[in-house]
């Protein structure tokens, strides 16, 4: 469950980062002029936070390994979505962010 949480959160984070990029900003319709920096900062912040569910699930060394692997597939998924269904990316990212957060809140030993 923690792996899914990380995957979803990382997907949302990468979408936020993509929104701050010139090439994808239009597709995502998230970043009006000048807000790019905020999206980027938020994206990287969320990306860092997506490590937490892994750390809750695994010992640190395994957690970082799994996290890096999950980042790869979150980014690949976003890349494919931006290619074939760019306008669905925004909704997908919102849903993924919510699902990831929910999974983390439900299962993280806070």
């Amino acid at each position: 469950m923690m792996a899914w949480s990380t995957l979803f959160l990382a997907f949302a984070a990468f979408t936020a980062i993509a929104a701050s990029m010139e090439r994808h900003g239009d597709d995502l319709r998230l970043a009006p002029q000048g807000r790019a920096l905020a999206w980027r900062a938020g994206g990287y912040g969320l990306l860092a936070a997506s490590l937490l569910p892994c750390l809750a699930r695994w010992n640190a060394s395994v957690a970082v390994t799994a996290w890096l692997g999950l980042l790869t597939f979150a980014a690949l998924a976003l890349g494919l979505l931006l290619t074939y269904a760019p306008h669905a990316a925004r909704r997908a990212a919102s849903a993924a962010g919510a699902a990831g957060l929910l999974a983390a809140l439900l299962f993280l030993p806070l």
Partner: protein
């Protein structure tokens, strides 16, 4: 290398380095990546390739049945070790040491036991997953040291190709999520970059750790200088070996005569105790020391580790054999940070620590790496199409690369599938059966290297990919027909090693089938120059048109 004679920048020279180191070692590295990725499922392959084991369905009684069986098979042994079924293994692998047997592996006797009945199973002779595993770092049919040297050097070039690739690709961040399909060369480049950059942590770690694993052979001078050539002493120290272990064995052996026989306590409560402590991995193996004597001990070992720093070292519980009471035992010493670092690096590569989720992640990352190598080699061909068009003919070198690409990429899939088919089609009692399976692998591969010589480039891809897809897709059908457990049996019984193999073969069939479908759609724009092999000018004209459409 610039035709206009101007000095080259760093990027150009890196690009040159990346292209040529990638091409020259690409075929080898592709094979290393492919077989190495499959090796993450080495145990599953071993189970699948021994269909005699498929009738063995684990249950709650398995541990007790196996111990009872050992009482019959080896009542005099000084130790029994039982590797229990789990998600990656469907039967019990037993080993024991008879009194007075040699030290080390040579003195061990082995048997495979049915998990439900404890009966001995005699599986067919096969190298199983070990062949693919060994091939990925030692190759085959040459002295091991040579194979390791070749793979080691290729790995170094891989490291060079990764680093020079990152430098070459200047838009690494602006292109991060970009894939532009149906644009010919551009699409191949995007695919190559995406699979490289997005999985970069995996590529760097797996290459670097691969080098570290081969380091003792590539750079042995440090160990030679300090240990005076006694490499075994070095490895023993690295592992933190305990020399007193043998003395203990002697004592136990002596104890048998002085004390009478004593039955082992039932193992079920011990297993329950362990299951409670290790909810994730459960019990992986049982070791009984001095069975049948009052001094017997039962050691339960966890089925996996928690940390990479101690190389996935499992926790253990020790019980008194006769009474089943737990005994205290000292905590194992923590690894020093030097050893911990080395353990983390090599542990990641070997994936021994990995529970199914992490193992799948490593496997899928390996698939991405395999795709990266393949797209890079195809890119070499696609990128040179304009040059070819200008020449009006296909230079020998280009044709050679095309042939080798088909044979080494599609051909390896066919060969691997053929290896699994041979496993089932060869008679179970054949002399040197394991060797014949491997010969089948290499014969299939060789045929796949020759086949593109007599076919056009596109047809060669198509036919070999189709063959690979069919061979993979039919493996789950072949499995029950030749004595194995079908998916309808393995899934409900929770035999995930067998079901996982069959399902993975279906996934591989789908992947190859997708390539076939994509080739058949015949969009020359997506893959220019289908007739690259045709020597007639007509072929060149088609190719030229294709290239123009690709622009």
């Amino acid at each position: 290398m610039r035709p206009d004679g101007k000095p080259e920048g760093l990027r150009q020279s890196m690009s040159w380095l990346h292209t040529w180191s990638g091409l020259l070692l690409g075929w080898l590295l592709y094979a290393v990546f492919f077989t190495g990725t499959l090796s993450y499922f080495r145990d599953e392959i071993d189970d699948w390739m021994r269909p005699e084991l498929h009738a063995s369905v684990p249950g709650p009684e398995t541990a007790q049945r196996a111990l009872d069986a050992m009482q019959r098979i080896a009542p005099e042994a000084t130790t029994w070790t039982l590797s229990l079924p789990g998600p990656r293994q469907t039967a019990v692998e037993a080993s024991w040491r008879e009194p007075g047997a040699e030290q080390g592996r040579a003195g061990l006797k082995r048997a495979t036991l049915d998990a439900a009945t404890g009966e001995r199973i005699e599986p067919r002779e096969t190298r199983g997953g070990a062949f693919l595993y060994r091939f990925h770092f030692e190759l085959y049919a040459m002295p091991r040291v040579w194979g390791r040297w070749i793979v080691g050097i290729a790995t170094m070039f891989m490291f060079v190709a990764i680093l020079s690739g990152v430098i070459t690709h200047k838009k690494i961040f602006t292109d991060f999520f970009t894939f532009r399909p149906k644009k010919g060369q551009r699409s191949w480049l995007d695919a190559h970059i995406a699979t490289a950059v997005l999985a970069l942590p995996f590529h760097i770690v797996i290459t670097f750790s691969g080098l570290v694993l081969l380091m003792f052979m590539l750079m042995p001078w440090g160990i030679q200088a300090i240990y005076g050539g006694d490499t075994n002493a070095y490895f023993a120290e690295v592992r933190g070996a305990r020399p007193q272990a043998t003395a203990q064995g002697e004592r136990q052996r002596g104890g048998r005569q002085e004390a009478g026989a004593a039955a082992l306590a039932p193992v079920a409560p011990l297993m329950a105790e362990a299951a409670q402590r290790w909810p994730v991995h459960g019990v992986g193996s049982i070791t009984v020391n001095a069975p049948g004597t009052p001094r017997a001990t039962i050691e339960l070992r966890e089925g996996g580790g928690e940390s990479l720093a101690n190389r996935g070292q499992a926790r253990t519980l020790l019980f008194d054999g006769a009474t089943g009471r737990m005994r205290d035992r000292p905590e194992p010493a923590a690894a020093s940070w030097v050893r911990a670092t080395s353990n983390v690096i090599t542990g990641v590569h070997l994936g021994r620590f990995a529970e199914p989720a992490v193992r799948w992640l490593l496997f899928l990352s390996g698939v991405v790496g395999t795709v990266m190598a393949a797209t890079g080699m195809v890119l070499w061909v696609v990128k040179r199409l304009p040059e070819r068009r200008k020449l009006g003919r296909t230079p020998f070198g280009h044709r050679l690369v095309e042939v080798l690409n088909v044979g080494s990429i599609a051909g390896l899939s066919v060969a691997t599938a053929a290896y699994f088919w041979m496993n089932r089609l060869l008679p179970a009692g054949l002399e040197a059966r394991g060797d014949w399976e491997i010969r089948g692998f290499f014969i299939a591969w060789l045929l796949c290297l020759l086949h593109p010589l007599v076919r056009t480039h596109r047809r060669a891809w198509l036919e070999q990919m189709l063959l690979a897809a069919l061979l993979f897709a039919l493996l789950p059908v072949l499995n029950p027909l030749t004595g194995g457990a079908s998916l309808a049996q393995s899934v409900p019984h929770g035999q995930w090693s067998i079901a996982g193999f069959d399902l993975t073969m279906l996934a591989l069939a789908a992947l190859h089938g997708w390539v076939v479908w994509w080739l058949l759609r015949g969009k020359p724009a997506a893959k220019p120059a289908p007739r690259a092999a045709a020597p007639a000018t007509g072929g060149v004209a088609v190719k030229a048109q294709a290239w123009e459409r690709a622009q």
